[in-house]
């Protein structure tokens, strides 16, 4: 069956019509290399400049502080390795959280193998980092703090301004992975006082394989990709003109009526959460009830396993995701869910439904309607459930 009900906007989004339209000329009409001086190349360069301006505007940064990359993971790797290696003379200690995206966590693990020390801050049951914990973790040799803006699994939004303020006070470089927050939150790098911020186009109805890193002027950072003089000599590689143009357009569209977007999604989200929690017993919301991305629903269904749930939903044309080990290709369930104190069992039974610009009320109703029999069917097969039913009776 074809996916007709897409509930995985946090994984990726379709490229919007308007975005693709702006991209198309740059594949074969205005395909010139933006670094060249002739006409067809200059058109590419102008388009890249416009995209940079558009993105700068959404973040309230200067255009010269926006650098295009090959995606959110590259941005995270660049920010963290770049700062770590460039500031080794000042110290070798990095602070991050336990619930970061793998692009941050695996980079930190790599740096540990390379002689850096990393503190992974715990989070509370809602997935929130505590400002006191951060203060206590800071040492004389701390060179970088990297805390994600909003979590991709449970949607929890961190108190970034407070966290960045603590870093600033101590003169420590502050990075935030805003891949999920971008396009779903109002972000002002000046107001927040952050030094580096990662974003990715394909989460906001732009193309895959394009991202950006905001680098505050004066931030000491090495390059990740050395070579030609592109991106003011800081990120080599022939510019992905269509991709960058698409990213710029998507960013502009995302922030054109961001308040409306947030309000609409929040309404749908809460309807979906309420619908599931009230209709299906032995369920629990993961993440924070209000400090939460407008499109994120994450619920644990006891006694069943997430991959089986996803497969069953797929048969009904519903695309979703889970923190179960079986979908991550690893042995353990989601590190995010377990960091919030969830048992492995409940983490295995988690379902993430993420909403976006094409989600309708009808789709919400459809999911709630379909979920109930699916959950029942799986629970009736589950040896864990029968014990509970026994007790319930």
């Amino acid at each position: 069956m074809c996916t007709q009900f897409y509930f995985d906007y946090a994984a990726t989004t379709p490229v919007k019509k308007e975005v693709l339209e702006e991209m198309l000329p740059f594949f074969n009409a205005d395909f010139g290399n933006p670094s060249s001086i002739y006409n067809i190349g200059r058109r590419g360069k102008n388009a890249v400049d416009i995209a940079r301006d558009r993105i700068a505007k959404t973040l309230n940064s200067k255009s010269e502080e926006i650098f295009f990359t090959g995606g959110g993971s590259e941005s995270d790797n660049w920010a963290i390795k770049g700062v770590a290696f460039a500031n080794r003379d000042k110290g070798n200690h990095i602070i991050t959280s336990k619930i970061e995206h793998h692009a941050v966590l695996q980079t930190c693990k790599y740096l540990e193998r390379e002689g850096f020390e990393v503190t992974y801050l715990s989070v509370d049951k809602y997935g929130l980092v505590s400002t006191d914990d951060l203060k206590n973790a800071i040492r004389d040799n701390t060179i970088l703090i990297s805390i994600m803006y909003a979590n991709n699994e449970i949607g929890t939004i961190q108190p970034i301004k407070e966290l960045a303020g603590i870093a600033k006070e101590k003169g420590i470089i502050f990075h935030t992975d805003a891949v999920q927050a971008y396009g779903n939150e109002i972000i002002d790098v000046e107001d927040l006082g952050i030094d580096l911020l990662s974003v990715s186009a394909h989460k906001i109805y732009g193309p895959k394989g394009v991202g950006a890193l905001y680098i505050r002027k004066g931030t000491k950072i090495h390059k990740l990709i050395h070579g030609g003089g592109q991106e003011k000599m800081r990120r080599a590689g022939t510019e992905n003109t269509p991709g960058i143009v698409g990213f710029g357009k998507a960013a502009e569209m995302a922030y054109e009526n961001i308040e409306e977007h947030i309000e609409r999604l929040t309404g749908l989200r809460d309807k979906l959460i309420d619908g599931i929690i009230t209709k299906i017993e032995h369920t629990e919301l993961n993440g924070h009830p209000t400090k939460r991305l407008p499109g994120n629903v994450n619920i644990s269904f006891e006694f069943i396993e997430g991959e089986a749930l996803l497969l069953s939903l797929d048969m009904e044309g519903i695309a979703a995701s889970s923190g179960s080990a079986c979908t991550s290709g690893s042995l353990n369930p989601s590190h995010v869910l377990t960091a919030t104190g969830l048992t492995h069992e409940k983490a295995h039974g988690s379902l993430r439904l993420t909403l976006g610009d094409f989600t309708t009320e009808d789709e919400i109703d459809y999911v709630i309607e379909k979920l109930q029999p699916i959950v029942n069917r799986l629970r009736n097969m589950s040896p864990l459930y029968e014990n509970v039913r026994g007790k319930d009776e």
Binding site: Q106, C326, L331, M381, S382, L384
Partner: protein, 147 residues
Amino acid sequence: MYNEKVMDHFMNPRNVGEIEDAEAIGEVGNPRCGDIMRMYLKIDNNDVITDVKFKTYGCGSAIATSSMATEMIKGKTVKEALKLTNMAVVEALDGLPPAKVHCSVLAERAVKAAIYNYAKARNLMYEELEGFDPNDGHDHHHDHEEE
């Protein structure tokens, strides 16, 4: 991801349920790991498995392999059932994605665990069960990062 046969066994699993007066019951797995399988066998006086039922908490391939395994041992003797390997189950399902093959071990172990309990209660010995420990975790497939 899964082929049609696997999806069929997942969506329409055969022999789901319990057998109240089962001669053999075995349970393997661990909720921490995200899978538990319980197997019920009806065994007649000729050592023939006349009925099988299962309950599984687990992913799609855990459920599908449970279902297939029950079909494969129904009507077989206990000794024959003990010869069931996870690879035979995988083959009967026309294959599983490589990362999912480890889930099929659960079904093989559930059959063995049930017969183990049956044998213990009756003081029987099966050489196929030598070294089998129903409380061992099943072989997890470790994806470790190369660096």
